[in-house]
């Protein structure tokens, strides 16, 4: 293919812009990674860009040594696992049931599940309901609300519907009941879509901090994301104080090398690294969800 001069210039500009966008996207993250690995008192002098100047893992030691953070991490991890398992079970069972085209009242059931998605009256009615259900300040507020979603159900259902029907029929003839067919035959065949939806659920739940904000006061039930929110909001207050009372004097006098900024950066890395390390290899599953949703939605 021959290329004109105009196209050549366009390609160069385009490549340049894309690289610029990559830098803008990734720089803030790399910068925080560098800060988290740099001595806190040194960071205050400014000028940390993408490499740590005085390398240390002291910040991470401080963060991991903090009992609040380690207990929050435990809560976060356990929530993600439990939530994903239960949610997957409920959603998959419903998706399998509703995948049967012959099922009577299927249209009604679909509508019944679909309609609330379009109506929302804000968080207060939900909050009052949770109070009646004793979900406020309860570990299960992280697990139970959100175990079923129409969108995820549709994604799984359309996958199941594309599986060959003959498999199911022959199992039926062999005398298997619905439950056996579901978890012995359909489930193993649907593993790709199950993996995909599980990943969304996991990332969504890991990143969730508003549940804690709305419904949890008990310190022992804080999640990692929520704790980080507090840290960011509080160090914003620290920042404000520092600005008003002629700059960082007190921080410089400190003997310890760890500062609020470096702790913040280390916490940020701990909460984001699990996802950042994994998503490049799994992004095709996430992308599949977007394109599938566009077709089915």
């Amino acid at each position: 293919m021959k290329r004109t001069k105009g196209e050549f210039i366009f390609t160069i500009i385009n490549t340049f812009l894309i690289i610029l966008l990559c830098v803008i996207t990734f720089y803030p993250y790399i910068n925080q990674l560098a800060v988290s690995l740099n001595q806190g008192t040194d960071t205050i002098k400014g000028g940390i860009t993408i490499f740590p100047r005085k390398f240390t893992i002291e910040n991470y030691k401080t963060v991991f040594g903090n009992s609040d953070i380690s207990s929050a991490a435990l809560i976060s991890v356990s929530i993600v696992i439990l939530y994903t398992l239960i949610s997957m079970t409920v959603t998959f069972a419903a998706a399998y049931g509703l995948s049967k085209r012959k099922l009577p009242y299927r249209r009604f059931l679909n509508l019944f599940i679909l309609i609330p998605g379009y109506i929302s009256f804000g968080i207060i009615p939900t909050y009052i309901l949770y109070r009646y259900l004793h979900l406020i300040n309860n570990y299960f507020v992280y697990i139970i609300p959100g175990i079923f979603s129409f969108y995820n159900m549709i994604i799984i259902r359309s996958y199941i519907q594309e599986l060959p029907e003959s498999v199911e029929e022959s199992a039926m003839i062999d005398g298997a009941n619905e439950f056996q067919i579901m978890y012995k035959i359909i489930f193993p065949m649907s593993l790709p879509v199950v993996a995909t939806v599980s990943l969304w659920l996991m990332v969504g739940q890991w990143n969730n901090w508003t549940t804690t904000l709305y419904y949890v006061v008990d310190k022992e039930l804080y999640t990692l994301q929520y704790l980080m929110m507090r840290l960011i909001k509080e160090s914003e207050a620290v920042q404000k104080l520092a600005m008003e009372s002629t700059m960082y004097k007190s921080a410089n006098d400190k003997v310890a090398t760890v500062t609020s900024d470096s702790v913040k950066a280390a916490t940020l890395m701990i909460t984001t690294l699990p996802i950042i390390m994994v998503y490049p290899f799994l992004q095709k599953y996430f992308i599949k969800g977007v394109t599938l949703g566009a077709v089915k939605g």
């Binding site: 803030p28 009577p104 804000g122 309901l129 609300p145 508003t210 904000l213 840290l231």
Partner: protein, 317 residues
């Protein structure tokens, strides 16, 4: 079995199609049952919470015991300066994000599409999709570090402008709130939103481009006359589906970015509901607020869908 059919229930059941259907497919219905129960409890019952808005709810009297007040709560909202500001802010932020932000993912998809080197394309996509996987609060944490007085942003400006530059933290100034909200939204979601347009572009019939090339149509004209019209349907669907967000600014983003300096002037409906309802216990008032927002959002989505149906023959249903 014979015994059961003699009872009234048994006779009713054997005659009714509903019951025979239920019994015949009982295992299948049992599989759907948990989801249905979930929907009833967590989606339908909160809809009944609408009555809270017409009452003066307090915890001691409960939902049923509280006094009816009619439309008082709604009247209060529209007579209250703080709340009117909240409505105004929500509309401004929502519209700017929706309409000004809308073209960017399309442009980005076109740019991605023009990269010929597969490896570079994959790499740059992976990098630009990254923010989608971070929570808003992580993003905001990075922003506070970036825009701090001694942060990278101010250092860069100082290098460009010179030593006379006065460093300034734009996150502590409410005048910059709108651009900050808009640009951080783009930063976080533009890449991910481009995926759907990339998929649409990939689905275009290549023979269209071939014949255009034979007719002497340049690259630029191909984009204007082939690519853009072909992804129009996708663009309309995306726009329609997000139209409800005009009155629904992302709570996590706004709440996260608010601070002592900016909070007063930047409240939106979502943050007001949180502060009034959950923090101050004015449940009825904030429910009324939520209902007003929810109804407007629903009407917007439904109307937009009706228009899209007429205009381009696409429907989200």
């Amino acid at each position: 079995m014979i015994e059961r059919e003699k009872t009234t229930f048994g006779r009713f059941c054997s005659n009714s199609r509903f019951c025979t259907n239920i019994i015949k497919y009982k295992y299948t219905y049992m599989l759907i049952l948990p989801a249905l129960i979930y929907m009833i409890i967590f989606s339908y019952i909160p809809l009944g919470g609408i009555i809270l808005a017409f009452k003066d709810y307090n915890i001691f009297d409960g939902v049923w015991g509280s006094r009816w007040v009619g439309f008082d709560n709604f009247i209060t909202i529209f007579n209250h300066d703080d709340m009117l500001l909240g409505i105004k802010n929500t509309l401004i932020y929502g519209c700017v994000i929706l309409f000004c932000g809308f073209p960017f993912p399309i442009i980005l998809a076109l740019m991605f599409n023009e990269i010929r080197n597969i490896k570079f394309k994959k790499f740059s996509q992976t990098v630009i999709y990254m923010p989608h996987f971070l929570s808003w609060i992580s993003v905001i944490g990075m922003m506070y570090a970036l825009f701090a007085i001694d942060g990278s942003f101010n250092q860069l400006l100082r290098k460009i402008i010179g030593s006379g530059y006065q460093p300034k933290n734009i996150l502590l100034d409410s005048n910059f709130f709108l651009p900050v909200i808009f640009l951080s939204h783009l930063w976080k979601s533009c890449g991910w939103s481009s995926i759907i347009f990339l998929a649409a572009i990939a689905g275009i019939d290549p023979s269209l481009y071939e014949s255009a090339t034979i007719d002497g149509c340049g690259k630029f004209k191909q984009v204007i006359y082939i690519t853009l019209p072909c992804i129009l349907t996708t663009a309309i669907i995306v726009l329609v589906m997000s139209l409800g967000s005009m009155v629904n600014v992302n709570f996590e983003q706004v709440y996260g970015l608010q601070n002592a300096y900016t909070q007063e002037k930047t409240e939106v409906i979502g943050t007001l509901i949180y502060r009034l309802g959950i923090q101050n216990g004015k449940y009825s008032l904030s429910t009324a607020f939520g209902i007003a927002q929810g109804i407007v959002s629903m009407i917007l989505t439904l109307t937009a869908n009706a228009f899209a149906k007429k205009a381009a023959n696409v429907s989200i249903w």
